[in-house]
């Protein structure tokens, strides 16, 4: 059983079901609070009947700094999924999808062009999940991650920047079909 609601700071005392899982990163306190401070409606949690957090999504709304306005890598007003996680015991119930959909609703409400996220290029499960939700690869960020999740002999791994157009992007100007062929450097990502 679950409830979906906004994150509250005291949820940080109930994260063990999600964050003891090795696939979930634990951040410094300031990181969580920054999202809660700036985009409270985009930081949503799923809790179980005992108040334990069994899933959460952290998102933000932003555009690239004005100084990059004329760069080809400039990102217009959009929502970004920073982290989404579901506790092992709550998987296969659609919680990840529900949380992502809630963020998309907020993105539309805030007139965002698209929602984007970064995923490791070897995380096929996540890539399929997002593709099923309407996301597509927009570009490949070379050597974005400083380690490799499956091959310890490699010192880096590419990221896929995946996007889903929102209602504002009527003409689908901010997505492309051949995103896998568009590689950029990490320095082009702001």
């Amino acid at each position: 059983m679950a409830n979906f609601r906004r994150f509250r700071p005291d949820d940080l005392n109930k994260l063990s079901k999600c964050n003891l899982d090795p696939l979930t990163e634990t951040y410094e306190l300031g990181f969580y609070l920054q999202y809660h401070a700036k985009w409270p409606s985009l930081f949503q949690v799923a809790e179980d009947q005992n108040g334990n957090i069994i899933g959460y999504i952290m998102g933000k709304l932003e555009s690239s700094p004005e100084v990059y306005k004329f760069s080809e890598h400039y990102l217009p007003w959009h929502a970004h999924i920073t982290a989404v996680t579901v506790a092992p015991e709550a998987r296969r119930l659609g919680i990840g999808r529900l949380l992502s959909e809630q963020l998309e609703v907020a993105a539309d409400a805030n007139d965002a062009w698209f929602v984007d996220l970064f995923v490791r290029s070897t995380n096929h499960k996540a890539i399929t999940f997002y593709k099923n939700m309407g996301y597509s690869i927009f570009r490949v960020v070379k050597d974005y991650y400083g380690d490799h999740s499956t091959d310890p002999t490699q010192s880096s791994e590419d990221a896929y920047d995946m996007r889903k157009p929102m209602k504002r992007d009527v003409k689908k100007e901010h997505v492309r079909d051949d995103g896998e062929n568009h590689a950029v450097d990490p320095s082009d990502v702001w």
């Binding site: 679950a2 509250r8 809660h36 401070a37 700036k38 409270p40 119930l93």
Partner: protein, 1005 residues
């Protein structure tokens, strides 16, 4: 460089390049010279300020304090200061704020003065930000009010809400004087009510009006209404057409609806909860909101509960079910989560409906609508990981007949219907968990005469499941559960097809079975089953063999399912109990408890760790460093982290939540635990660490009045227990969990130890030794009185006895008695009459120490086996600490006496001879106890070094009271032969040897 932790300080742009460069490079002597020159030639006081700031960066005390003098002068002047000068001074005084000066008394009011004079300047906002950074709410509130007034007609609404938010924060803060609190509370409420009226009465929304427009603004109003308004006003407003909970829900904002339900539940306003839930859920059906927007479990639960409490529960619950049916009938793709919520809601309404525990057929008492509905739910969800948690509370509430029907008819029927082998075994393991759950439910037992023929019966119940006479829980059922689960476990292990199918399942059924077997055996081992009191040593009266068997099974299971953190957490506790702390630590590390989650999770390993295994503090990395870093980083600033971002973003409810979280974190029991454990461990090895515990900056503001808060997260800890008894962590924890009382007592006891161990620095050579000695004595007496009072207050708090282990109670009591005794000793001179209270105090100290010694000796003598020599190091640790506290206290008094004799040959200032005699006697008693404790460690080391240990340990493990059949079953689960058990016993033994090595390194003097 012109940097400090507050950042780089830029000078005014019209300052010449030469001075700018010198300042930027941190070339302070050049800055002083140049600034002095410019001040004289330009007659601009700003240069004088630069000079003062540069002086403050030099090492000399006079220069350093010059900035404080300059600030003080500005405060006294009552004129509006120059903002650039103010910025400079604030930067230069950074190190002194919170110490030599208080921001709220100095720079805060100066900022207010400037902002009030220049409210429209962008620097006024900088003034507000500065006050917030130092959490000077009084000044921040005044500035925000000035800003609001200045921008009242500008259309910039954020100043209004900053002012309101800060007024509210101030009204609930200790910074607010009692006389102002009421005024501010009323003021903020009136401001928001006015804003609410503007919105409610407006015909159209004007983005510039001073009403409530965003979700954050509306929710801020309701938070204030809850805190400062009346219940009637809240109830009235929450039903309003524009600002009511449902109005916001319609706009896609759920927060207010959630918070309203919570408030209404607190007040017992069930009719209104019913109405709100009904209307909200209908909105989903009618397409007003997205279909499942409010379909949260808690909404359904409150709806069903409210219906059951209505005047006509039957019809109200019918309505709940009618809406549920509408949701079930909706022809849209629904997430599995919501489907499950709906199914559970149906289950909930069935349990709430009156008469649903009545049998459908008189001849079959157990077949009730509740049981049938449970069966229907399980049919769909038994194979899901969370199935047990979902139904646990419902099963525990069934009558005995219902539970029997569920176990003996419904579940077997479900099993018959499964042709898929993995599913069959999942169901079997699920049934094992339910069966264990029922042993924790009182309805499965009936009272049997507790006294028969004048004799107390050890088995005062008859189990209604197996009909045997038993104590609670039923040992016969537990043993049956173990045997059956072990059999199922072995069936799975032997079936290659089944094993290969496990990765495709939600959960490895062997994990559930191992957990059932492990917990059942722990109960059979009598681990806290007779007496739930956590104050008693957990290992007393425990069947060591069974305890070891349970640990063996669970340890072996972890090899199969290493990612299961619940199992890992349970094993951490078991190894801490067994004294194999190094294994516990190895189990703990892979969970990677770091950064933010440390506050809630660290107590699961670190609490009392210095009393169990001091050797761990001598590892390759400092044990407490990650915790220390976490608190240092997050609590460095006086204000809550990221609070300014929340103000800029207009996230007003976030501000309130962050303030509350910050306040709690600053009073965290875990933070205190980390400091105390480190301080204790340092003392144990005779070190001094980072100085005295009270000097730790994070503890500066902790006073006796501070309520310390514990937030330990047991969410991932396995718990198969019903709500009729304590959760499982209470069975396996070493003692009571963290508490305000224990945290304070530990802190005070460390301060007492610091006071006794204080040695002035070598450079300290006072000119007037007599006066200095008198001052020292006065200070010591004052500190001892404070500590004695504080320790006594916390020791005598009503709940304290239940919050400490026995040895902790003794230690803190002795510390308190010693502090009082020392006050008497130090204030009784040779010429005074004999101090009577001293004799009584020392008698109590001797008695307490003797009791602890005898407890420890008894524990050692009655130990189930010398194999468990490492299992009661907690008592040994406190025996050492108590004895050393006595010894140090006596030595402290005698040293003072000797010093006085040496200083004043007349002997007038020396201590009373009875005092000296009492202290010498105490010292002797304590010395004996220390020697005993030390000898025990040495003996343990020798014993553990003997040959043949592996056999002895295995013999003990398989000589538990469970009988041969159970030993065979256990062995079967761990692979069928002794190889696994031998390997495990070897690791356990190695861990004990490692542990005792740490104890051997402990200082006993």
């Amino acid at each position: 460089m012109s940097f400090n932790d507050y950042g780089r300080m830029p000078l005014r742009s019209n300052v010449d390049m030469q001075l700018q460069t010198a300042f930027s490079d941190g070339n302070w002597n050049a800055v002083i010279r140049l600034a002095d020159k410019r001040a004289k030639s330009l007659k601009d006081p700003y240069y004088e300020a630069i000079k003062i700031c540069a002086e403050s960066q030099l090492d000399g005390a006079v220069g350093k304090s010059s900035v404080l003098t300059a600030i003080d002068e500005l405060v006294r002047k009552k004129t509006v200061p120059d903002i650039d000068t103010l910025e400079l001074y604030e930067w230069a005084a950074w190190d002194f704020i919170g110490g030599e000066i208080e921001y709220a008394d100095t720079l805060g009011p100066l900022r207010v003065r400037w902002a009030k004079a220049n409210p429209k300047s962008p620097m006024a906002i900088q003034c507000l930000r500065s006050c917030l950074e130092y959490w000077d709410l009084v000044s921040a509130q005044q500035i925000s009010t000035a800003l609001d007034r200045a921008y009242v007609n500008s259309g910039d609404r954020r100043h209004m809400f900053w002012s309101i938010t800060l007024t509210f924060l101030l009204s609930i803060s200790p910074q607010c004087s009692e006389s102002s609190r009421k005024v501010y509370s009323l003021l903020v409420l009136k401001q928001l009510e006015r804003a609410a009226e503007v919105t409610e009465n407006a015909t159209k929304v004007d983005v510039n009006d001073r009403g409530l427009q965003t979700e954050e603004e509306v929710c801020l109003y309701y938070r204030v209404l809850l805190a400062n308004g009346s219940k009637a006003d809240f109830i009235k407003r929450v039903q309003c057409p524009k600002l009511g909970a449902l109005a916001l829900l319609e706009k896609g904002h759920k927060l207010l609806f959630w918070e309203s339900l919570k408030a209404l539940e607190t007040w017992g306003e069930w009719d209104l909860i019913y109405d709100l839930c009904r209307r909200a859920l209908r909105m989903g059906v009618d397409g007003v909101t997205t279909p499942f927007f409010v379909c949260d479990w808690l909404v359904w639960k409150r709806f069903a509960t409210a219906a059951s409490k209505s005047a006509t529960p039957e019809s109200a619950l019918e309505e709940v079910q009618a809406i549920l049916r509408q949701y079930f009938a909706m022809d849209i793709k629904t997430a599995a989560m919501y489907k499950k919520n709906l199914s559970l809601a149906l289950l909930e309404t069935t349990f709430q409906l009156p008469g649903r525990s009545q049998a459908l057929d008189d001849g079959h008492k157990g077949m009730t609508p509740r049981v049938i509905q449970l069966g229907l739910f399980l049919q769909q969800y038994f194979d899901k990981l969370s199935a047990f948690e979902d139904v646990k509370a419902y099963v525990a509430d069934l009558s005995f007949e219902e539970a029997k029907t569920l176990m003996e008819e419904i579940l077997p029927k479900l099993l018959d219907g499964k042709s898929d082998k993995p599913q069959q075994f999942i169901l079997k393991s699920f049934a094992s968990k339910l069966r264990y759950l029922l042993t924790t439910c009182p309805q499965t037992l009936s009272r049997h005469p507790s006294v028969v023929d004048g004799k107390d019966q050890s088995e005062p119940y008859q189990c209604r499941l197996c009909s045997q006479l038993t104590s609670f829980p039923c040992r016969h059922c537990l043993k049956d559960i173990v045997m059956e689960a072990a059999c199922t476990y072995q069936q799975i292990s032997k079936d290659k097809d089944l094993i290969s199918s496990i990765p495709r399942l939600d959960k490895d059924p062997r994990l559930d079975l191992a957990m059932v077997i492990g917990t059942s055996i722990l109960k059979l081992a009598r681990l806290r089953t007779k007496d739930h009191s956590l104050t008693r040593p957990p290992m007393r009266g425990v069947d060591a063999g069974l305890l070891l068997q349970a640990t063996l099974i669970l340890d072996t299971q972890l090899k199969e399912t290493p990612k299961d953190n619940g199992l890992r957490l349970l094993l951490v506790q078991l190894h801490l109990l067994l004294g194999s702390a190094s294994i516990a630590y190895q189990l703990w590390i892979p969970m990677d408890v770091k950064r933010t989650i440390q506050d809630a999770l660290s107590p699961l390993f670190f609490d009392r760790i210095s009393t169990l295994s001091p050797g761990l503090f001598h590892g390759s990395r400092p044990l407490m460093e990650p915790l220390r870093t976490h608190y240092r980083n997050t609590l460095r600033d006086a204000c809550p982290l990221k609070i300014w971002e929340a103000f800029l973003s207009g996230s007003y409810t976030s501000i309130l939540g962050m303030n509350e979280y910050d306040s709690t974190l600053r009073r965290s029991c875990t933070m205190m635990m980390s400091m105390v454990e480190e301080s204790r461990a340092t003392r144990v090895f005779g070190g001094k660490g980072d100085g005295e515990i009270a000097d730790q900056q994070l503890l500066w503001k902790i006073t006796d009045d501070t309520t310390l808060v514990h937030q330990t997260d047991y969410g991932s800890f396995p718990n198969l227990e019903s709500h009729h008894g304590p959760p499982f962590q209470d069975f396996v924890r070493l003692g009571p969990g963290l508490s305000n009382e224990r945290s304070h007592l530990s802190f005070l006891a460390e301060q007492f130890a610091d006071l006794l161990g204080y040695k002035p620095p070598k450079e300290y050579k006072p000119a007037k030794t007599h006066e200095a000695a008198l001052r020292d004595r006065t200070y010591t007496l004052e500190r001892l009185s404070q500590l004695a009072n504080s320790l006594t207050t916390f020791l005598h708090a009503p709940n304290t006895p239940t919050l400490l282990t026995g040895p902790e109670t003794t230690y803190f009591s002795v510390a308190s008695l010693l502090a009082s005794a020392l006050v008497t000793c130090l204030s009784t001179s040779r010429g005074d009459p004999s101090p009577k209270p001293l004799a009584s105090a020392t008698q109590s100290i001797r008695a307490a120490l003797a009791a602890l010694r005898s407890e420890f000796t008894h524990a050692v003598a009655t130990q189930a086996s010398p194999c468990l020599a490492m299992a009661d190091m907690h008592t040994l640790s406190y025996l050492r600490d108590t004895a050393l506290a006595v010894r140090h206290a006596a030595a402290f008094v005698l040293a003072l006496h000797d010093k006085e004799l040496a200083r004043d040959r007349s002997g007038k200032s020396a201590l009373h001879r009875d005092v000296v005699a009492e202290m010498k006697a105490l010292e002797a008693v304590a010395g004996k106890a220390v020697a005993e404790a030390r000898a025990h460690v040495q003996r343990t080391k020798e014993t553990l070094g003997e040959a043949g240990w592996l056999d002895r340990l295995l013999e003990l493990t398989f000589a538990g009271g469970g009988g041969e059949d159970m030993e065979k079953a256990v062995l079967g689960v761990v692979g069928g032969d002794m190889a696994e058990a031998e390997d495990w016993a070897g690791r356990l033994l190695e861990s004990w040897r490692e542990g005792v090595k740490g104890w051997v390194a402990v200082k006993w003097e």
